[in-house]
Symmetry: C2
Amino acid sequence: MLEFDADNCSFPETNQKNVSEDGYELWMRYRALEPPYCAACNRLLRSLVFPGCSGSKTLAAARDELLRGICGMLGVTPLLSTAVTGEGTLCVGTSNTMPLISALGLPLDHLGKEGYFIGTVDVNGFHTTLIAANEDTGLLYGVFGLLRALQTGLFNSDFCVESVPKVMFRLLNHWDNLDGWVERGYAGRSIFNWWELPEYVDPRMIDYARANASVGINGVVVNNVNASSEALTDGFLVKVAALADQFRPFGLRVYLSAKFSAPIEIGELTTADPLAVEVRDWWKKLANRIYLLIPDFGGFLVKANSEGQPGPKDYNRTHVEGANMCADALEPWGGVVIWRSFVYSNDVARDRVTQAYTELTPFDGQFRSNVVLQVKNGPLDFQPREPINPLFGAMPNTNVGIEFQITKEYLGFQTHLVYLASFWHEVLKTDTDRWGRGSTVARVVDGSLFRSCRSMAAGVANIGSSRNWCGSTFDQANWFAFGRLAWNPDLDPEAIAREWVSMTLTRQPEAVELISDIMLRSHEIAVNYMAPLGLAHQMGTGHHHGPGPWIDNSGRTDWNPTYYNCADHIGIGFDRTAQGSGAVLQYSQKLSQTYSDLNTVPSNLLLWFHHLPWGFMLASGRTLWQELVIRYTDGVDGVERMIGKWATISDVVDASRFYQVSAYLQIQLKDASLWRDACVSYFQSLNELTLPSETPPPQHGLEYYKRLKYPHAPGNPH
Amino acid sequence: MLEFDADNCSFPETNQKNVSEDGYELWMRYRALEPPYCAACNRLLRSLVFPGCSGSKTLAAARDELLRGICGMLGVTPLLSTAVTGEGTLCVGTSNTMPLISALGLPLDHLGKEGYFIGTVDVNGFHTTLIAANEDTGLLYGVFGLLRALQTGLFNSDFCVESVPKVMFRLLNHWDNLDGWVERGYAGRSIFNWWELPEYVDPRMIDYARANASVGINGVVVNNVNASSEALTDGFLVKVAALADQFRPFGLRVYLSAKFSAPIEIGELTTADPLAVEVRDWWKKLANRIYLLIPDFGGFLVKANSEGQPGPKDYNRTHVEGANMCADALEPWGGVVIWRSFVYSNDVARDRVTQAYTELTPFDGQFRSNVVLQVKNGPLDFQPREPINPLFGAMPNTNVGIEFQITKEYLGFQTHLVYLASFWHEVLKTDTDRWGRGSTVARVVDGSLFRSCRSMAAGVANIGSSRNWCGSTFDQANWFAFGRLAWNPDLDPEAIAREWVSMTLTRQPEAVELISDIMLRSHEIAVNYMAPLGLAHQMGTGHHHGPGPWIDNSGRTDWNPTYYNCADHIGIGFDRTAQGSGAVLQYSQKLSQTYSDLNTVPSNLLLWFHHLPWGFMLASGRTLWQELVIRYTDGVDGVERMIGKWATISDVVDASRFYQVSAYLQIQLKDASLWRDACVSYFQSLNELTLPSETPPPQHGLEYYKRLKYPHAPGNPH
C-alpha cells in the first residue's frame, strides 16, 4: 500500500466501479461511500482533534489510518484542529493526551489497556464524536472500530460503542520455515524475508501489522512450530528485533517457536534435560538476550514430544517440567510459554484422540502461571468437523487457550470456498457442561469460567506472499473472522461475514446478503463432500488433498483413513462409546450421554462416536448408507449452488476478483465430485449395496480414484 | 497491472513525483513525458490507424499496449481512425491488414517474421508515422519499439528504425519446480501456479508475456532443467496448454524441460535407452499428444548425464543418440531439442572445465538439424568471471546457442547490485579466432559465422513471485538486458543500461548518467570482492553464498574451492597451460597463446590459467599477493562508492524503490567486506605475508569466517 498523502486527497481511481482489484487491501478497502450516507458522515467528521501523535508511533499510525480511511470513504480530509470549535469534530485521545477526556468524567477504567469507547459527547455546545481509551493501543483499535462502522454503514450521529477484548493473547501462528517455505501454506511463501532482514524491512510488514491491528490480533509467532533451532541464534534474533520494531506501534508482539533441543543444537550442551542446571541456565541467558533486543517479546510457542519433535519426555521428564523450565526463564521479563497440547505418543494408541487428555489432565494446577496450554479445537487434528476437544473445561487450574487452523489444510486449500467462522462458532458455543450449564468453550477460552490469569486464542495463519495475502479472496474472511472472534468469542459468524463482505467486496445490500449466505453455508457443504456424518481423516497421506478412505499403509496405523472410518462390509464408524475406545467418557457426564445415545448424538458426529451397520435406520427414515451417499451428493450439489449464486453478482464485484472466485469454484466442484465419487466407490466396494435411486453413480471405477496422485501439492512438508 | 481503459485516459496518480512504486510495472512504466517533448510527440500521434485487431489477439494486444503507453506518457488517447485524414497519424499494419503498406512499396521481406520497420512516410500529403511488419508478432515488437523510443526520448518527426532479431530462439529458462520452489531463485516462488491451472490463469501471466515481448523474448522453458517427469504427464500438459494459450498472442512459445528417464517413470517402460524402439515410440507419442494440445509448442530442453541427471550414457549411448532420438520425435511438428552441454562425468577429471569440450566436439555434424547445443558462457559454471567456453566456434556443423545465468547464483543473489550485461558483452565480443579474425562468440550465437539453421540465446530466469518480479529493482535490468542482447548480441551494454534506467527509474539526464555508471562498474566491483584476478568457485558449498576458499571436504573434489584456487604457501592459481591441465589448448591457437603467455593473458583471467608464486611480479609493479589484496579491497571500496552515488539521487527515485536499493547496498557492503576479509585471511594463513600497507587488516580471525554458516539461504536445493 502506498503511503497516505493527506494533502492530496480525492477519491482514488480504484473507486471506479469494476476496476480490477488484486485484493492486497484486504478489508481495509476504503472506497467512496454512497452519496447520501457519505454526506451525512461528512457533516460529522469535518475536523479532527488528535493530540499526541508526534510523541507516539502508535498514535501516528492511528491518525494516518484514520485520515486514509476518511479520505477514501468521504473524499475529503478533515481539518486538523487542536480544539473543538464547531459542529462535526472527531476527538481522539486518552486522558494523557486530551484533558477533555478527564473533564468529561467518562468511566474508562474497565476498558483496560486495549479497549476503547466511541460515542457522542457535547463539547462547548458542539456535537462531537469521541474515541477514548486508556492507552494508545486502545485508541488504535478504536480508530479501526470507527472505520469499520463507516465501512459497514453503522456510523451516525448517535453512534456509540464500547469494546474490550475478552481474550488476552490473540495470536497468529505462522508455520513458516526460515527458508520461506510455509508448511500447510497455500498463499505463496512466507511474508517474512529473513534473508534480507534486518537491513531491509519490506513495507508489506507495515500493512501486515495494520491488518492484524484492524481486527485486534496482538501477537504473532513468526516461525513454524516444527521449529528450527536457528531461530534462537543471535544472528536471527537481530532480524526478529527489526520486525518487532515495525510491529510495536500496532500493538503487535512477536513470539518465537522454540525447539526443545536448541540447547544441544545451538548451545553446545550435551543435553536438553529441563531439570539440568546448565539447560535451565541456557534458557535463562537466551531469554535475557532476547529481551535486551526485544523488550516486549511475547514468549515461546513449544511443540514438544509430538510428531517427532524433541521434548522433556526424551529425558523422562514431564510436559510440566518442560513447560515450567521455559516459563521460569521468561518469567522475569513477563513472557509466556505457550505449550501445545497436540501430543501423541510414538506408540499407536487404541484411539489416538484420547491421548492428549489422558496425558495432560493429571498435570492440572502444576503449570506456572505464565504457561498457557494451547489446545486444538478438536481432539484429532483440525479435521473438517470434530467434536470439541475434551480438554476444554477439564483443567480448571491451568490457563487453557484454543488453537484454530485458519489455513485450510484439510478443507481444500486456497481454492475451496469455506468460511470457517461458522464452524469455530459451533465449537465456541458448545457447552462443556463440566461446571454447570453455560460452561461453554468460549468461556474457557476467554478465561471467564475459571478466572484464568492468561486467556488465549491462536489461529494458524493462512497468510503468504500472494498479492492477496491468503491465496484467495474468501480466505481473507477467515483471517478477519479469526481476529474478530479472538477479540470476542461470542460474536455471531453471520454478523462477521456481513462486516467482511461490506468492507471487502461490496456494500450493495442484496449482494451482501447473497455473499454472506454463500459463506455461511460453505462449511457444511465442504464437510458433506469430504467427511459427512462425523467421518474424519479420510484424506490422502502427506499432502492431505483429495480422498483416500481406502488408505491403510501409512507410516503408522493412526495415520490411516481406514483406522478412522473402520469401514467393512458390515458397517462404518469409530466406536468411541464406553463399549468402544471409551473416548466419549473424556467429556462431562452430560455430554458423554448425549454423544453416546444414538437418539441424541448430533448426526454430524454420528460416525465419530459410533460404529454402525450400513443398514442402520436413521431418524431421517433413510439407512445409514443411503444417508451417507445423499450427504456426499448434497456436498457436490452445494458447490453447484454456490456457483450459480456467485454468477449472479458479476456486476457488483470487480472483474479480477470475480474471475478468480469463479475459477476457484470450478476447481472446488471438480474436487468435490472427486471426493464424493471416490468415497462412495470405496464404501460401495465394501458393502456392495446399491446407491439411492436419486443419486448418480461415480464417474469412474474405484481403481481410477486409487491411482490418482497429487504430486507437488502445495504446503506438503518435503 | 489493471486493464487499460481507453475511455478514461488521464495521467495516472502514480505520475506524481516520488509516489512510492513497488516495481511491478518493470520498464513498461509509462509515466508522463516532460512538457515540451510531450507536446511534440502529441502532435505526431494525434490519431491511430490500426486495422485487423478484431481478428488477431496479437494485434489486439499490440493496440492495447500502444494505447496504454501513449495515454500514460502523453495523457491523451489518440483518435482511432480508419484512414489518414490529417497530420500526426500513426499507422500500424502488415501488408495483410493495411493496403497502404503495399501501396507504399516498402521493401519488407528482409524483416522476416519478427522484424519491424518504424519510419515516417507521406500519406495523402500528411506526415505519418508508420509501423510496418510482415507478421502480427513483428507489429507487436514494433509497437514496443515505438514505446521504447518515446520512453527514452528518441521519438521525433524523423524517427526511423528497422529492427530484425539476429537470434532465432530467445529463451528464458525457468529453474522452477512444479511445487513452486525455484532452484537458485531469489525472487520468491515460481510465478507459475500449476496447482491452480488450468482452471485459474493468474492475470500476472499476461504481464509476464508483455514484459517478455517488450524485449523480444519469444520462448520460455517453464520447468527446471533438473526436471520432474510429471511435467510430461497428460494432467500437467493440460496446464501447460492453458499457459500457452495466454502466451501465444505475445509471440511467446512454451518449452518443457524433459527428464530423460521419463519413459520409465511415467511411461511404464523398463528402459529409457534412446535406441530402444519402445522408447523412441514413447517419445513420438508424447510429442503427438503435446502438439495436439499446444500446436506451437517450442520443444524440449534436456539436461542429461550431468550432476546426477539420467541420460543416454546410462545405456552406453552417446549424447548424439540421446538428442537425436528426442529430435526425431519433435521433427514432424517443427519442435527443437535443446541439449545442454553442461556435462561433467561422475569421475573427477584432472580439470573439470575441459570435460564438455572433450566429450562433445567429436560429435560435431552428427546432431539433427533441430537440435541446438546450449553452451554456458564459460567452461565452468556461471562464475563471477570465466573465459569463454571453448566450445564456441569449435563445432561449426552444430547449432550452438549460448546460456547465460540471469539469476545471480554466484553474484550475491538479489541483494547485490550487479549489472550483468557488461560481462555478457565481454563474452559476446570475445573473438574465438577459430575462423579468422572476427569469429566472435556473438557471431557463433547469432548463427552468422556458420550459417546455423537455428540460433539461440537462453537466459536462466531471475523471475519469481516477488511483487517486483526479480527480487530487486536492479535485477530487473538483467532480465531486460538479456532480452535486448538476445535480439541483438551486438548491442552496447551502456546503451541498454541507459534505456532501462530511462524506462524504469527516471528520465532526469544527470540521474540516468549516474545510475548507468553505477551499473556499468558493478560487475567488476563484485568480481573484485569475490574472485579477483581470474579466481573462481570460491563460494560456500550448496547455498553458493559467501566465501569458502578453504573448503576441501565437499562431496567431490571438483566441488571444492581449494581444487580451483590451488593455493598453498608458495602460490595460487590453476595451471591450465600446456604444462598444466592443458585446458588452454582447447581454444584456438591464437587465443591459447594469448592466455598462455604471462605477458598477454588478461589480468582478470590470470589465475584461471596460471599457478604463480605469491611474489610473482605483475606489470602493475606489485607482487601477485599485493595485487590480490588490493583488488579485494577495491571491490569493497567500490560498493562504498556505489552507496555514495546512490545517496545523491534520493529526489529522483520514488521512496520505496530508493529505500530498497539503499538497504540492499548495505547488505552488499556487509557481504563484500566478508568476502574480502575471509579470503584475505585464508590466503594470508597460507603465505604468511603481510598486507599491503594501504589495506586494512581483516576484521576477524580466520576461524571466525570458517565458522560462519548460512542456513536457510534462498534458492538452495533441499
